[in-house]
């Protein structure tokens, strides 16, 4: 188990190092997130709609779009020079390969969120108050769920035509359950409700994560093995 995790981390570290050297996807996803936040601000009539009514949906629209932009890159980088064949030849199980890719993607989307969240607070003049810990847990749990599915799908769509367009089409239905809960939880938290009130929602997110990470680990070898 320890060895599996170490190997997964090696694969994840490879992806992260690659991204740190080029910074293209991270930069484009972050700029994209900032743009979405800015556009929303202009669309809102500040005298008619209170920020706190709009803020939760704005946050999650930004996060989900930026996540798709970030996840598209996971396997497109492997397509160049048939790098993925090299990865498949490495003496590791497919499950570990998946976990590595999943962790790298998760780290990625979380970084984009870490950039988007302060911008969101700044642009929308949000008073986080005691909501921050709960919001961070929600971000982590919801993101883990759709990144798990997105990692499998991005491995599939790179093999198809119009890969970049395909990912959002496939992923959208799978983003719905975590997003619905994340938005509902954020509404309560930003309204100053205590963490205990959203415990049920967080549990749903956790169950979603466990089910889809497990399913993805099991199905990943069907995607990459010919």
């Amino acid at each position: 188990m320890g060895r599996a995790l170490r190997l997964a981390l090696v694969i994840a570290a490879k992806d992260i190092r690659l991204e740190l050297r080029s910074r293209t996807s991270l930069l484009s996803a972050s700029v994209f997130a900032a743009l979405v936040l800015i556009v929303f601000n202009f669309a809102r009539d500040p005298t008619a709609v209170a920020t706190v009514d709009l803020a939760p949906s704005v946050l999650w629209v930004t996060v989900s779009f930026a996540a798709v932009v970030a996840m598209n890159r996971a396997f497109t980088v492997e397509r160049e020079n048939a790098a993925f064949d090299g990865l498949l030849l490495a003496p590791v199980d497919r499950e570990i390969l998946y976990l590595g890719k999943f962790l790298a993607n998760l780290a990625f989307v979380l970084v984009v969120e870490a950039i988007a969240l302060p911008l969101f607070v700044l642009f929308f003049n949000i008073d986080l108050g005691g909501a921050l810990p709960g919001l961070l847990i929600t971000l982590l749990l919801a993101t883990a769920g759709f990144v798990a599915v997105g990692t499998v799908f991005s491995a599939m769509v790179v093999r198809t035509r119009f890969a970049e367009l395909m990912l959002p089409i496939l992923l959208l239905p799978f983003m719905v359950p975590p997003l619905i809960f994340a938005v509902k939880i954020s509404v309560l938290l930003l309204a100053g409700r205590p963490l205990s009130e959203v415990a049920e929602g967080l549990r749903f997110l956790a169950i979603y994560d466990v089910v889809f990470v497990t399913l993805s680990v099991l199905l990943f070898s069907a995607v990459v093995d010919e």
């Binding site: 799908f153 395909m166 089409i169 959208l172 239905p173 719905v176 359950p177 995607v223």
Partner: protein, 232 residues
């Protein structure tokens, strides 16, 4: 090769016969619904669409579950026939989803006063429809048959697991949807005439599902046979 085409034709004829029987059944259900069932006291004539709407929803759900189960079998056995069935079932499922999504608003307008609302089951059907559209888009984008089979099987399984999650997540919004009246713990609280028509319609839609899938399967069989003939 010509034997393949001949057997494909046989499957298609079988499918066409079942489909015609199913469509005649739909006609029968319409006659029964309009002429023999009593008018619902609150909803009036609008309620009649329910005899088409609910059984179509059943057929749509059936197709998603069967596609998911077939996908699991495919990843295990790698039999192209299973893949063909899964694809046919998903395609037919999206048709039934379309029927549900059109008959629903037609009923909703006079009863709810609005064409669309974010009611739980309505939202579920919409995302089911998107899921199936994604499934077809994925299949259309892959040429290699084995790869297409594997990828769509992965999506089919994930989709089947997703359905209860969407159901749960949208159910927590208080729904406007009528509560279950047939499949509930106590006895069905439905007029016997209405219940009979509804049960006939469930049977008819299932028959129509089988007919459509068989026909679609036969068409795919012919398509594959032709492709193989062109390749050789």
């Amino acid at each position: 090769m010509t034997a393949d085409l001949a057997s494909a034709r046989r499957v298609m004829i079988r499918g066409a016969v079942l489909t015609v029987l199913g469509l005649l059944g739909v006609g029968l259900v319409m006659v029964l619904a309009l002429a023999y069932t009593p008018e619902e006291i609150n909803q009036g004539l609008a309620q009649k669409i329910f005899y088409i709407h609910a059984p179509s929803a059943w057929a749509a759900m059936l197709s998603v579950v069967l596609t998911g189960l077939a996908s699991m079998l495919y990843l295990w056995l790698h039999d192209p026939r299973i893949d063909r069935f899964a694809a046919s079932s998903a395609e037919v499922g999206s048709i039934f989803c379309g029927v549900v999504l059109t008959t629903g608003p037609i009923w909703g307008k006079p009863i709810w006063g609005t064409w669309w609302t974010w009611d739980g089951r309505l939202t579920l059907t919409l995302f089911l429809f998107f899921l199936l559209l994604g499934y077809h888009t994925l299949r259309a984008a892959i040429r290699e048959p084995f790869e297409r089979g594997r990828f769509s099987a992965v999506l089919g399984i994930m989709g089947m697991v997703l359905v209860p999650f969407i159901h749960l997540s949208v159910y927590l919004w208080r729904g406007l949807h009528p509560m279950p009246i047939v499949l509930k713990p106590s006895a069905p609280s439905l007029d016997p005439q209405m219940l009979r028509t509804l049960l006939i319609s469930f049977g008819v839609m299932t028959l129509l599902y089988v007919g459509f899938v068989t026909l679609r399967y036969g068409i795919q069989l012919a398509h594959d046979a032709r492709e193989a003939a062109d390749a050789s």
